[in-house]
Symmetry: C2
């Protein structure tokens, strides 16, 4: 609190490190407040609280930025750079430096101007989406893109501005890596999708048609599954929100949400399992690193890798349902009468091109991401004009997914990201899935009996592996280093492509 | 945020006032964070979050104290004192000055030492209560009393330290006023209680014996009643917590809680109505004063006056139940079969001496307060020794309520207040009830048809009166001035004594 009282003169690296820890704890304390404010806003806040909650969020954001950018922070980092450090200390210094330098690169005038523009653009985007009118949003989007390019310039991405933006969300990720990865994935998925769509024996999409599943029973089942996956309810909660999310308020308090549909119990279940993957990661970080980067998840894509591993690789697998399907049939005996295992298993793994990303299946999901990646990269690099966006969007949905997009509200206007100035974010979703496949392959080499354990409902087996190879490491490694360390080889897309190939060939015959 | 950048040199009173408003908004913003942290802790936080939540509360408390005690705040107040002010501005200056001066009177060393002691004493009190062993707590309590006396000394209560403590909770309240008030109340209640207890036709206490009332139906009924009293659910919530409370997070977001018992639907109902009284007060403060004392409730006793007016004067009245009893019978038709209006009305107004304050009825409640007042006054003034506390407690419960206290956990150890260093707090509860009676008398003079309106379920009638005479005034008047302004005469206990006399004479015949 009395940060003004510190003086960097005469400090040795060890003392500087200790002061950085104190400052880091304060920053993470302020974050904890923002986390609580945000969780509450999405889960329980009455509508009347909107304006004052915006004030709270703005206050904590400013307080955080003020504390982070105090020049003394930079001086401490300089002194710290001369020390000899253990790997965990070095990781903390790496992350503090990364965050501090990014923050001081952006002029305060720019930060305020950008925040005001994004907030305005978000409102215009909402209206445009509601009215299904892209051209209402287009002029604002153009301003947003100019501002995001300005940000990229400050962050040092003068050669390839999109790289600077990717690095914001995923340390070290580049356009070249994205190009290479998405080119390979696209080359596999497009022809494969055509085969799946013309397969003779396609899974049913109507398994639950006309049925209704009691919400409270669904809730109990979702909690049972997530607890069995390892989510600790004495240090967490499950609530309901429009868009499911995970929020670790602070050590010992990680909250996940889901959304229930009476007509489809799998909606809430897979949502819950997805968030459980995020939640388990947060709960697996080590308390002893509380308040420092070592006690935080390393990146968005590693986070997404956990949630997708749990949702797709684990909870859409055959051994998983060999254990859980009888339990599901038991609690919903009447509603599932006459539904057999194979039929159900194929149902939860069906592939169906659709217009909306967040409703997409495991397979076509990545086509949605590829489209966004190609478009936003070209927008930021100035080779695509905002005016042609709906046309390009339609063209790509036709080419990659075989869909004719009619309405922009279910097309180019569907996602909030661009209105908020988030460019370079979408790729992390697909990298998350790809990392999950590479992790799974490594896990299977380490644990040959993995499927046997899952069949018996022993879901702590994958958890223990992830605890050791991912969760407990916090920010020790950069995301790329972490994947290499956990799997024994640098990341490449081969395990992911093999995973999709093997899985859907088997399911579609 | 950049409070360091201000300079008081050359400011005129108007400019100083504007800067005080900015600082006041920041203080109230920090309070909003504390409010949310506290609400969440009592309602939804998982147990694993305790330690990190304690850190959050401690952080915001320190941040608040740091911002409040910046010397520049005092300089601005000095400049402001030379201005010509409208009544609302003068009220803000009065409250800022009061809070600032109190804060700077306490040395930082003392604040930290006292907080550590009270936290420790709270733990020991919990243990002592659990083990029903007062002598475990006694040495800590002795330390607490010494520390509270030290606080009173800093606050300027050298002549009568208890006065300085009373003033902390209720601006301007003195021992002399308390003595006078409680002497009169006691002189009425003790003989009257003896009469009620020997009355021939006492209300039944077993009306619901053996019945069970569905919690969800109770919740719906409680919400319906509170909404009809004027609680705005678009700017508020009703949740469940062990001890019911009200918390206005910030403008537009006021939350109340209740606790449900299957065997007694009146428990949750009266709790909800009590908190509704608090909540309505908070919701009735004017948004235009957001972030300044004028936008805050003036005092604890005026707050308690609202909750007790709603709970006792209104929701335990005959006209109230003439409207609501048929509705209650309708939703709990089976459970209330054969129960008539008179029987029910007398049941909710029955008087029964009991050991525990928070379970006490409207009448005997004040005996609990008088006992605590007499004891804490004597402890603080050094005329009663901690060692004799259980003995004195037993003696007074015997004398005032006719009860033989056997166990200290339901006796002298029942309340948390003293362990936390809260001495001088208990009287506000009784003053709240007494103010409510004086307000009711004034309201009846202004609205002769009040009972008719209440009978028709038009509960906005008392609300509109309270909005005008209490809620919208915020901190314009001191508590004593407010009572005088709203009722046309200075506070005295006569309306309260008359209210109790009339009501219970009628009920007990």
């Amino acid at each position: 609190m009395n940060s003004q009282a510190y003086s960097s003169r005469g400090l040795n690296p060890g003392q500087a490190y200790q002061e950085l820890v104190v400052r880091s704890r304060e920053l993470i304390q302020i974050n904890a407040i923002s986390n609580l404010a945000s969780w509450d806003q999405q889960v329980y806040m009455p509508e009347g609280g909107s304006a004052s909650r915006a004030d709270m969020v703005s206050y904590t954001t400013k307080l955080y930025h003020q504390k982070l950018t105090e020049p003394h922070f930079g001086e401490l980092l300089k002194i710290g750079a001369n020390g000899q450090w253990m790997p965990d200390e070095a990781a903390n210094l790496r992350e503090w430096k990364r965050e501090y330098e990014r923050a001081i690169k952006l002029p305060a005038e720019f930060v305020a101007r950008a925040a005001a523009l994004y907030s305005e653009a978000f409102d215009v985007w909402q209206k445009a989406k509601r009215e299904n009118n892209y051209y209402l949003f287009a002029p604002k989007l153009e301003q947003v893109i100019r501002t995001v390019r300005e940000e990229a310039h400050y962050l040092g991405g003068t050669q390839n501005p999109y790289d600077a933006l990717l690095d914001k969300y995923e340390e070290g990720l580049t356009s070249v890596q994205c190009d290479e990865f998405f080119t390979k994935v696209k080359a596999t998925l497009i022809p494969m999708l055509q085969k799946l769509q013309t397969a003779k024996n396609k899974p049913s999409a109507d398994l639950f048609k006309g049925k209704s599943f009691d919400i409270e029973t669904q809730r109990i089942f979702s909690k049972q599954v997530s607890a069995s996956l390892g989510f600790d309810y004495s240090a967490g909660r499950l609530d309901v929100s429009e868009h499911p999310f995970t929020n670790r308020i602070d050590t010992g308090d990680t909250r996940i949400t889901t959304a229930f549909l009476a007509q489809d119990p799998m909606h809430a279940l897979f949502s819950t399992v997805h968030e459980t993957g995020h939640g388990i990661y947060e709960q697996g970080l080590l308390d002893k690193y509380k308040g420092t980067p070592m006690g935080n998840a390393v990146s968005l894509s590693i986070h997404e890798c956990q949630s997708r591993f749990y949702e797709n690789n684990l909870a859409r697998s055959r051994p998983f349902w060999e254990y859980w399907f009888p339990k599901f049939k038991e609690i919903f005996a009447k509603e599932t009468e006459g539904i057999g295992f194979e039929e159900f298993f194929r149902f939860v793994n069906r592939v169906e091109p659709s217009f909306v990303r967040i409703m997409a299946d495991e397979f076509t999901y990545h086509m949605h991401i590829i489209i966004r990646f190609e478009i936003e990269r070209d927008l930021i690099n100035g080779v695509l004009d905002v005016g042609r966006l709906p046309e390009i969007w339609r063209q790509k949905y036709k080419e990659y997914l075989g869909l004719y997009v009619m309405d922009d509200d279910k097309g180019v206007l569907q996602d909030v990201h661009w209105s908020w100035g988030s460019f370079g974010y979408f790729p992390v979703y697909s990298f998350g899935s790809a990392y999950a496949a590479q992790l799974e392959a490594a896990m299977r080499r380490d644990i040959p009996s993995l499927d046997e354990s899952i069949k018996r409902g022993e879901l702590s087996v994958p958890l223990v592996w992830l605890r050791e190879h991912v969760h407990q490491l916090g920010s020790l490694y950069t995301p790329a280093e972490l994947v290499k360390h956990a799997t024994g080889k640098p990341f490449d897309s081969s395990d992911f492509i093999k995973y999709l190939n093997d899985k859907f060939t088997l399911i579609y015959g």
